[in-house]
Each structure stands twice: as C-alpha cells, then as structure tokens.
C-alpha cells in the first residue's frame, strides 16, 4: 500500500465501521453478557478490523467480514475461562449474521426511534432500564434495589423491552409514512 492510499483506506474504514459497528455490537452483546466485557471485546474487534483492513475484500460485505473477526475475539474472551463452548456455532453465527445484516438499512432509524421511545416510558420502567443498562445490574441486584424479587424483575424487564420494540416499530412506520 502506498502512503497516499493509506489515508484513503483510513477514510474508507471509518465510513464502513460506522455502518457495520451496530451489527458487531449486537453480536458481541448477544455473545458476552457482561456489558463491560462486551464493550472491551467490541473495542478489540475495532482494533483488529483497523489492523487487518488491508485484508478486507471490498467485493464482500463489510459486516460479514467484521462479524467474522468479532467471532475470533469472542472466542478469545471465553478461552481465558475455558468456556469456548459458549460461542455460537459456525452455522448459528452465519444465520445470526445474515439476520443482522438484513436489518442494516433500518439500524440508524431504530437508534433514533429508541431515544423517543425511552422518553415515553413511565419513570418506573426507565428506572429499571437505568439499573440494568447504565449500572449493568443483574436481576438479583435490581430486585434488591427495588425491593422486589428476581423473577418479577425479569418479567418486568422483558415487558419493558416488548413495549420499546413495539414503540420502535410504530416510530419506523411513522417515518415511512412521512
């Protein structure tokens, strides 16, 4: 690679990464449950993608390639504790990646819609999301803070997510009608 084309490559990478990162993040978050660990892994994927960018074949999907690199980083993460079996199988990985890639065009609209939808939630539901997503609390820890039971917290959290998913769909439809 010449020095001049290096800058070009870097700009291309920045652009592709912005497009492909949500899928990588979703994959890693589905595979690594602690938020802090998942964020560390995403960061490592970003560095690997940057370092190995000259191997990327522009004919192919960038997301597919980035997800393939992400899988190795997820395996590394589990290897430390000897739990590689928890990584998605090759087949599941491919199916999951296809499914994420199919959602690609909607992704940025979903992220924007989520902002609106979180705002619409009752305070109590938002508090639950804060505990789970801002503090990374487990169901047990949330139950303790909210003087509830882990089972009840799980159900509520599941419902809040359902509400958000519905709200996002509504917002996307509104967007489509505009």
């Amino acid at each position: 690679m010449t020095d001049a084309s290096e800058l070009e490559a870097r700009q291309r990478l920045a652009h592709l990464w912005v497009e492909g990162e949500p899928a990588v993040r979703a994959f890693v978050f589905a595979s690594v449950s602690s938020f802090a660990d998942a964020e560390d892994v995403v960061q490592k994927v970003a560095l690997t993608v940057a370092r190995r960018f000259d191997e990327y074949d522009p004919e192919r999907s960038f997301e597919a390639w980035a997800l393939w690199l992400a899988k190795s980083r997820v395996i590394d993460h589990y290897r430390v504790s000897g739990r590689e079996k928890l990584v998605f199988s090759e087949q599941l990985m491919n199916q999951f990646a296809d499914s994420l890639i199919a959602r690609h065009s909607e992704q940025s609209a979903r992220a924007v819609a989520l902002e609106t939808c979180v705002e619409k939630l009752p305070d109590k539901s938002r508090r639950l999301l804060e505990l789970r997503y801002e503090d990374g609390a487990s169901a047990e820890a949330m139950a303790e803070t909210l003087h509830s039971t882990a089972g009840s917290v799980r159900v509520t959290l599941h419902r809040v997510r359902n509400l958000l998913a519905e709200c996002i769909q509504t917002e996307l439809r509104k967007e489509a009608q505009c």
Binding site: A14, W17, E21, A26, D37, D54, L92, L100, S108, L157
Partner: protein
C-alpha cells in the same frame, strides 16, 4: 409466532441470566429456528442500543448536576435540549464509538507494544514489551518505544523522552519527540507539553519538546491538529504539511514545511583527524515520488514490493577533481539519517542499505531528477552495505570498504556518481520511508566522503 416462553428465554440469554449448560442448549436449538434467530437479532440490536442510550442519558444527568471532570473535552456530555431526532443517526453511532472506547474497567489504558534498542530510566511503569500501562511516567533514555492507547491512538516515542500517561485520551510530554498516529476513535487525543496543548483532530503528527526551554514543535503529516498555548486561550490550527513552534511567551504561526524536522538533539560536527579530507556532495537528489510526501532537504530511501513508482533511490555526485593522482589509502562514505515522518517503522525489519558506484556510460544528471527518474541505467559496482536497526531513524551511518577506496582511486580527478538503495523490503505496506540529509539540509552535514591520503 414465537411463544412467550421462548422469548423470555432469549431475553435471559442476552442478559447472561442462564447457566452455561442452558445457554449451550438454547444456542443449539436456535440453529433450526430461523424465526427465533430473527427475533434474537432484533432484540440484540435493541439490547446494545439500550446500553448506549442509557449510559449517555446517565452522563447527561450527571453533567447537569456537577461539572464533567474534563470540561475541555465535551465529547459525550451533550445537553438533552439538543433534539436527538435532529441529530443524524451517524453521530449517535460515532459518539457511541468514542464513548465505548473509553476505558471501562481496570486501571490500565495503554499497551507498550514494542521497543527497539530501548533503554529506560527507572519509573513506576513496567517497560517490558506487551506490558499494560496505567497512569505514570515513562522515561526513555535510548531507542524507540511504540505505545498503543486503548482509544486507538498509537504513538512512537523517540529517546530521549519523558512521557506521562494520564488516560486513554491524554498524555503529557515533558521532553523528547513523539510521533502519533490517531484513528477516528481517538479524535481529540491531547498531548500536554510545558508550553502548549496539542490536540489531534486528524491522523498523523509529531511533537517535540526541548527540555531546557520547554519549546514545543508540532508538525502535521496528515490531517488537522490544534495547538493551544498554555499561557492564554490562543489556538493555532495546523493542517497537513504545516508546523508550528511555541516558545516562551510566543505562540508561533502555522508555517509550511513538514519535512524540516525539528532538531531534537545536537549533532556533533564531523571531526576527522589530520590526514583526512572531507568532500561533500556537489549534487544530490532522489528519484521516485508519492505526491505531497516530498522533501527538499532529505534524500529518501524506500523499497516496496507493492508499487515500484513509490520506491525512492538516492543519487550522490562528488567532484574529485582536486584529488589529482594522490594516493588514496582509506575511504568512508558518511550519511546522516533523520526521520522523514512517513511510514511506520513497525512495518519494516532491520533495514540493509547498499551503496553502488556508477560506471561505464554514466549519463549526465543534475538535481532536476529529484522526484523523477534517473536518466538511463548505467552499470553499478557494489561498494558496501550498512544496516539500520528497526525503529532507528536518525544517526550517522557509513560504509568503509576497500571497494570504495578502489573506486575513488580509479576515478580521482573526475566527477563520480554513487547510488544508495534500500535492499530490505517491507513486511507490510505503509512502511517507513528512510531519509538522510542532502546538501540542502539546514544543519545536518551533507553526504560526505572522508578520504585518507597517503603521506608519501
């Protein structure tokens, strides 16, 4: 339609709320359930977006009640009054990258990737290759060290240098030179020096600090950098190819000329004893070019396996007219290397260079061949080679050989032409461009022949 139970199970998978055994079982069951995979993909996107949204909201809430610890870097702290609907989704994503690239766990935020010929003064940080580094000071006495911050910023420290690490986006350089390569993830990377703050808004730049005066020299190879004068609010923006010096009470202006690297250590004058004569080049130039990477004062050397047009080969002309038929006993060719600021040292192993004497039908050439091509392909005799260790970019290198002395004897009384090439090819693209001082260099000696004449 997925059952409610199946959906709850998948939510628990995302929450890490399952035993390893259950997790493996559910993952296996997914393979034959495309509907569940689609649902999980939706949910995983929601899950990861929620993490980002809730953390950002948390940061905002905190900003409203107390000042953010680093108000000069308001990357994440956005006021809620900004309508997020209006903000392009891409910005959401980019902010997210910046956010998540900040250290989230542990005390360390950088890695000492590699050192070359490094000698360290004792300090509080580990200096073994691969060490993880947290806050503290590195004191590099000799050699080169490459550090990678978790923000993605990569810096090469050139001895003698003292660098204090603050966090993944901030460091303090109190002396020495630092060449930085900053990807988008580390946009806003800040280097504090005694006289200025250098803030990166682009990609590659070098900063040198003179210990005795605290002077700060900044030069930008690519991109945009801000130099903030420590003593006031003044700021100078430097674009590709510009440089700036902050000294004492003076915040300098941006000037063109990235290739004139700042003097970081004093250069010893050439000193050969009696009996030796020194002959500098009467003409010198290099061929090959990458646009906007040229130098007027350094002669570049590069050997890529990718693209021949970007190879750089240097030619030196010496006038031996005054030597007459004097007997040449010994001869040496001296070249003073200096950093070119182009390419990565890590992509190139120890590099071997060869010097050839042009013989036979040597065409007339002058310095107009600079950046172009050498006219013709005359025969060349190998006169000697030398090796520049990986990571070393400055210092005096020479060949001293009987072949050189023999060549000079044969051509004494006339003009001679030498060719310098790098034999070693890069292991990877974007590797280091070597350079040594031409006769136009403001303070380094020109390529010089040192010749010892017989006293008989």
């Amino acid at each position: 339609m997925l059952s409610e139970e199946r959906r709850r199970e998948l939510d628990r998978l995302l929450d890490g709320d399952l035993s390893d055994e259950d997790r493996v079982k559910i993952q296996a069951s997914l393979e034959s359930d495309p509907e569940a995979i689609d649902w999980l993909a939706d949910r995983a996107l929601l899950h990861s977006n929620l993490r980002r949204t809730m953390r950002r909201r948390g940061t905002e809430t905190r900003t409203q009640t107390k000042p953010y610890p680093s108000p000069r870097r308001p990357v994440v702290a956005r006021s809620r009054s900004h309508s997020w609907m209006a903000v392009a989704a891409m910005i959401v994503v980019v902010l997210g990258i910046v956010f998540l690239l900040r250290p989230t766990s542990g005390q360390t935020f950088a890695t000492l990737e590699e050192t070359r010929s490094a000698l360290w003064e004792s300090g509080e940080l580990s200096t073994a290759d691969g060490s993880r580094l947290g806050p503290g000071t590195l004191r590099l006495v000799e050699g080169l060290a490459t550090l990678r911050f978790d923000s993605g910023a990569e810096v090469i420290l050139e001895a003698p240098a003292n660098l204090t690490l603050v966090d993944a986006m901030n460091c303090e350089l109190s002396k020495g030179t630092m060449v930085s390569d900053i990807p988008d993830s580390a946009h806003g990377f800040r280097i504090k020096t005694p006289s200025a703050d250098v803030v990166d808004h682009g990609t590659r730049f070098a900063v040198s600090v003179h210990e005795s005066t605290g002077e700060t020299h900044t030069q930008v190879m690519e991109g945009l950098v801000q130099v903030e004068y420590a003593a006031s609010e003044k700021v100078v923006e430097l674009k590709t190819g510009q440089r700036n010096t902050v000294a004492g009470q003076h915040l300098g202006v941006a000037t063109e000329g990235v290739d004139q690297e700042p003097r970081t250590v004093p250069i010893m004058p050439l000193d050969y004893g009696p009996g030796w004569i020194l002959i500098p080049t009467v003409k010198d130039a290099y061929t090959g070019r990458v646009r906007s990477h040229e130098s007027e004062i350094l002669l570049y050397l590069k050997n890529t396996h990718v693209n021949e047009n970007t190879d750089r080969v240097s030619y030196l002309g010496f006038d031996l007219a005054n030597l007459g038929s004097t007997k040449i006993e010994d001869a040496e060719l001296l070249l003073h290397f200096a950093p070119t600021g182009w390419g990565l040292a890590s992509h190139l192993p120890d590099a071997e260079f060869s010097v050839f004497g042009l013989v036979g039908n040597v065409p007339e050439w002058d310095e107009s061949i600079l950046y172009g091509e050498f006219p013709g392909k005359p025969n060349a005799i190998h006169l000697g080679s030398f090796t520049v260790p990986q990571g070393v970019q400055k210092g005096r290198f020479q060949i001293r050989s009987e072949a050189l002395a023999q060549f000079l004897r044969q051509h004494s009384g006339s003009e001679i032409s030498l060719k310098v090439v790098r034999d070693t090819q890069a292991t990877e693209g974007g590797d280091l461009v070597h350079g040594f001082a031409s006769r136009r260099h403001p303070f380094l000696p020109a390529p010089t022949l040192a010749i010892r004449l017989s006293d008989k």
